[in-house]
Symmetry: C2
Subunit: 342 residues, 2 copies
DNA sequence: TTGAAAGCGCTAACAA
DNA sequence: TTGTTAGCGCTTTCAA
């Protein structure tokens, strides 16, 4: 039984390449990674050996040495029902598309973590060097998971915990924009419809809305509906409200899935949008654009938010200090038929 | 200098946990992974030690032993210009959302790889156990990368190379559906507008379109435009065609970015859709839905395609044999105003 | 049910 | 510019 007969075709390793190229494994490594200069002739031999043997570096082993997974994770925690349906995770996916491209330019890949039942379990074997958290709730289950991993985290929206760097999505400015738009379009009696979960997003919207209405001499009215029930909850809420307030002439409903529900409720109640009632929402996604009539919404500059968040995260992973909050351009109104002025 | 004074806070490892729980590292591993039974009392000690020390397993080390990265990658290679713009990678992202959820249920995460300039370089340090390839071109740069990695691959659309398992997106049936729809809606002179790259998608569309038109006694006309030029190319193509054929009364333009361009071209030429010209496209994404008027498109069952593709891939990774082609429900027409019958 | 020990493949420190 | 060597943290035999 000679050496040449050895059967079990093992994985080709640096050692095999080194032997074939008559150099040491360290030199092979340096030829591949360019961390140290390698003589061009030596490099040629190594490259030839790599090609001949069909060597593919073992990422896991490399990761073990370097301490890098080569990936970052994007988490989105919105209640599934809100995210699902027509716009199917649209908000998250819009961020994901940009983040993935930016990260890849720095040789890091983006891992997608949509809302799931048992995150800790599902991610048992999934390595990542850092995380982007999209509009986390304050009791977000992902937060524990991430603090256990002890990796850098950047929030997109607002920081759920003090000290977490984040890309500010300008909740207050957005609320102001929409509330004042309804006012100037002529609405005088319009509730704010938001979800029940604990989110800074809701809190700041509510605060801004109430302040503006009060100073305009109007009565604010906040309706909370369970996002988990999606569109139907939105429809039911607006129908109930119409019964109490037949003079209702607008609805500010930032969550797009609820907005679609509100539209259905108004249709069912025989109200015309925008003639009788104006409706505005926040995220300018598929739902807002394909509603009949299409909904006035807000350009949040999500693409830019994703890019900055990703770059900040990559910097943190590489050990850089990061300013806690990165600024975005101000949100801009996207005017559509649902809130045409009188 | 006592043991308690050791300063450099090192990572907590199985060894530390084992010491604290007074067991061997192997037992800690088994307690965590449940591969071997562990006495419940012992397990309790280990769990306590893990909690106390804040132990987090090192995924890279685990991956090195098990040979699993814990991720799969989703590649999409469509020319950027087509994918970008309003519907920003919509097709890929729709698949991604479903695939990510299905994969996570099997404790595997999805890595997103949108079209990029230097894929081999960008993915240098990114480990994955398998790949989904969305509508690959025949000379797709990702194919080399994947064969170098020697991981299982599943195509979504059609297999670019013989032997690759794939989820069939029914190109022929889709082409038939759209062509016959235009015919039965009353169109008699309608070109097929497709891209210039080498894709099975285009080839099968062309073939089916030509066959049907010929057997209806009509003259097929195929217009190829460079997808990289996006909407403008579509607009220019249809305007040129109108000059040659003023009787043009329909356009079959499967690529949605080109369809948007065709619509713009028709508008510029003063043609009304659908009164003068009917337009139909394939992917029922943001573009089709928000065009004015909205475009007739096809329900490709992308969600189901993504799910089946992902499951097939995971099975392959686990060593199962996979039938080369998985069947999907037949594509279904989504009728919209752009092709209303006479 | 548990322990001891080998070693996965790579990179980085040190030496030459 | 290159070689030598140690060891990252884990799982998995084999033995008890």
């Amino acid at each position: 039984m000679t050496e040449t007969t050895k059967r079990p075709e093992k994985r080709v390793t640096v050692i095999d390449v080194a032997r074939a190229a008559q150099v040491s494994p360290g030199t092979v490594s340096n030829a591949i990674n360019g961390k140290r200069p390698v003589d061009s002739e030596t490099r040629a031999r190594i490259e030839k050996a790599i090609a001949t043997l069909g060597y593919v570096p073992n990422m896991a082993a490399r990761g073990m040495r370097t301490g890098r997974a080569g990936t970052i994770a994007l988490f989105s925690s919105m209640p599934t029902a809100v995210a699902a349906g027509a716009s199917k995770l649209g908000f998250m996916m819009e961020i994901a598309a940009s983040a993935a491209q930016v990260a890849l330019r720095r040789n890091v890949a983006l891992v997608l973590v949509p809302p799931i039942a048992a995150p800790a379990d599902a991610l048992r074997n999934v390595p990542f060097d850092g995380a982007l958290l999209v509009e986390p709730a304050e009791d977000d289950p992902f937060l524990d998971l991430l603090s256990a991993r002890a990796v850098p985290v950047v929030g997109i929206g607002a920081a759920p915990r003090a000290g977490m760097p984040c890309i500010d999505l300008h909740y207050r400015a957005t609320a102001k924009l929409l509330t004042e738009h309804l006012l100037s379009a002529g609405s005088r009696s319009f509730p704010l419809v938001i979800g029940t979960s604990a989110r800074q997003y809701y809190r700041e919207f509510e605060e801004m809305y109430c302040t503006i209405l009060a100073s305009a001499g109007l009565v604010p009215r906040v309706i909370r509906v369970d996002e988990a029930h999606g569109e139907e909850a939105g429809a039911a809420a607006v129908e109930a409200r119409l019964a109490e307030d037949p003079a209702l002439d607008g609805v500010l409903v930032p969550v797009d899935a609820l907005a679609t529900g509100v539209m259905a409720g108004l249709r069912a109640a025989g109200r015309n949008v925008p003639r009788d009632v104006r409706v505005v929402t926040r995220y300018d996604g598929l739902r807002a654009r394909t509603e009949t009539p299409p909904l006035t919404a807000v350009d949040l500059h999500l693409e830019e938010a994703a890019e900055r968040g990703t770059l900040a995260l990559l910097d943190m992973i590489e050990g850089a200090e990061t300013p806690p909050v990165r600024l975005l351009p101000e949100p801009a109104l996207v005017l559509r038929a649902s809130s045409a002025p009188e």
